[in-house]
Amino acid sequence: MLSKKQARAFFLGGTVVTFLVFIGLTVYSLSEAQDQTNYENLTEQVVRGKNLWDKNNCMGCHTLLGEGGYYAPELTKVIDRRGKGYIKAVLMSPVPWAPNGRKMVAYGFTPEEAEDLISFFDWIDDIDLNGFETVISPLAKDKN
């Protein structure tokens, strides 16, 4: 039968080996050559948009890259689905945006802030998501 010592060796050995592999894979997949995000296109405007995204916790209602709240539409590929004009109207609306009855927060962003957020979505939309992008965009049904 397994002894306590062997059980401990199994625990320590398994942990160390998988941890090292994990670190190795992390370094590999985050290396420049493996970039799927067009990191070079991450402009200052995109970063300003991201900061607005974070500061207002949009992720509390929406998902982005499939992460967040399940209360409001997934926003990856939102520009494909709605177009920039529509999104600008949503973001600048002085009253809660709710064409389908469910309310968004009325942020009333300035045109510049809205542009920043849109350029953030633009950057997100170009990321290679290993196929997820074809599932979440209704336009995808025409494409696949």
Binding site: K4, F10, G14, Y28, Y39, N57, C58, L65, E67, A72
Partner: protein, 446 residues
């Protein structure tokens, strides 16, 4: 064996229960909003409710874990806590930081990352608080007469949980990097180091409740936490399938996360077998219910329901839908909420000297909360599967689908009422136990 410093644990448990009730209030706010009643939108919009629901969950569980450690470590190490005064300082500062964060969420003060919404400034206070906690625990272990595997695994879990909070504080310009390292916290907590905490508490409770030999229990504890890390570390890859990083994670994450249920299966088999083997019939049956219940429900919620959406082929469609919420509820409930309720049920009679563990109320609390939570899981599951089919496969509009599944949130609310009634009964018992006394600790702790 009497350790008066164990009394501190009581106050951590009390804080834990208070925040738990508050968490449920915000759950109802979200449930009603999903069902079409967002009357509170102007005061507590959905994203505020969600951030509060999640952070209160984490804080009440951590407070429960800390209470558990303050209760277990003196007994395992056979030594009083090195400083009771500092433990109270730590309790109060934990409560203050938690409450400050929660209030801030109502005023748009947060970082928009799910589970890690606490703003940076408060993050540093969290770190200081946890260091203080670890100092007291490690100091006690160091001075203690013995160092058991149970105490070591519990402490290791708490230590690494603190360490893993740090990657969540790294600033990034890229949303993808943010997400990547958010999982080092969220995933490596719940599918890694928190399982050590759970395993440690479980093993302590089984030793006390079943009377099975410590050597046997602790040997299996090593096997369980071994399985946890063996599968869970590389299992992190199941969050990297579709966020914009290399495809290699589809293979690595797929294989290793599919093995994760083994650790939970082992935990359930371990608990049930030790119970069967045990000769001692401890009178505290209700603590035994929660202990075995925790191991079994964790296997269903984390193991089975986690497996249900962890393969890349499935996750492609379920990623970021209510299916995730279904799994999240039963997993957190079984693995972490129930183990905290188990250690509280075990500790209270010893701390206070009152033996309320035969009452009908305790049993009703157990069954109502569990049946309620299973009902909620089914409601989320039905809504989630419908969402996946209609939105992701039939390509219907998000909001159109949401209207069609509103009814399932009425079912959710009804089940949540049953669940909450169970929790209220549990808390009534908690209050009836009264406060801890030195005399009780002297008599009861054998």
């Amino acid at each position: 064996m009497k350790y008066k410093s164990q009394k501190v644990a009581y106050w951590f448990f009390a804080l834990s229960m208070l925040l738990f009730v508050l968490q449920l209030v915000y759950g109802f706010i979200m449930g009603f909003a999903h069902a079409g009643f967002d009357g509170l939108h102007e005061i507590i919009p959905f994203h505020t409710a969600k951030a509060v629901h999640l952070n209160l969950l984490v804080v009440w569980l951590l407070s429960g874990f800390m209470g558990a450690a303050y209760y277990i470590i003196p007994e395992e190490a056979q030594h009083e806590l090195v400083s009771v005064k500092l433990a109270y300082v730590q309790l109060i500062s934990l409560a203050l930081v938690g409450v400050a964060a929660i209030i801030g969420f109502h005023f748009n003060i947060w970082e928009g990352r799910k589970f890690l919404e606490i703003p940076r400034g408060l993050d540093y206070l969290v770190v200081v608080n946890v260091l203080l906690f670890l100092g007291i625990i490690l100091g006690t272990l160091y001075k203690g007469k013995r160092r058991t595997t149970t105490a070591l695994v519990l402490t290791m879990g708490l230590f690494f949980a603190a360490l893993l909070y740090l990657p969540g504080m790294l600033p990034f310009d890229s949303q993808v990097m943010d997400s990547f390292f958010r999982w080092w916290v969220v995933h490596l907590w719940v599918e890694g180091v928190w399982e050590l905490i759970m395993g440690g508490i479980l093993s302590f409770l089984l030793i006390k409740l079943t009377g099975v030999d410590r050597e046997v229990i602790e040997k299996w504890l090593y096997v369980i936490v071994g399985l946890t890390f063996l599968s869970g570390i590389l299992g992190t890859g199941h969050h990297y399938y579709y966020i914009g990083v290399n495809k290699i994670w589809l293979i690595v994450g797929g294989i290793f996360s599919a093995l994760e249920p083994l650790a939970f299966l082992a935990m359930a088999l371990f608990a049930v077998n030790m119970y069967r083997k045990g000769e001692k019939k401890h009178p505290n049956k209700i603590a035994l219910f929660w202990t075995l219940g925790s191991a079994i429900v964790a296997f269903v919620g984390a193991g089975l329901l986690g497996f249900a959406h962890t393969l890349p082929q499935t996750n492609l469609y379920t990623h970021g839908t209510l299916v995730t919420a279904m799994h999240g509820h039963l997993a957190f409930w079984g693995a972490y909420a129930m183990i905290v309720l188990a250690i509280i049920s075990y500790a209270l009679p010893n701390l206070t000297g009152r033996k309320l563990y035969d009452g009908a109320r305790g049993r009703a609390a157990f069954w109502m909360s569990n049946i309620g939570m299973v009902g909620m899981t089914v409601a989320f599951g039905v809504a989630g599967v419908a969402q996946v089919y209609l939105e992701r496969i039939m390509k219907m509009e998000f909001m159109e689908v949401q209207k069609m599944i509103e009814i399932h949130f009425m079912v959710l609310i009804i089940c949540a009422i049953l669940f909450t009634t169970g929790i209220i009964l549990y808390i009534i018992d908690f209050v009836k136990y009264g406060q801890p006394t030195d005399e009780a600790l002297e008599i009861n702790n054998q």
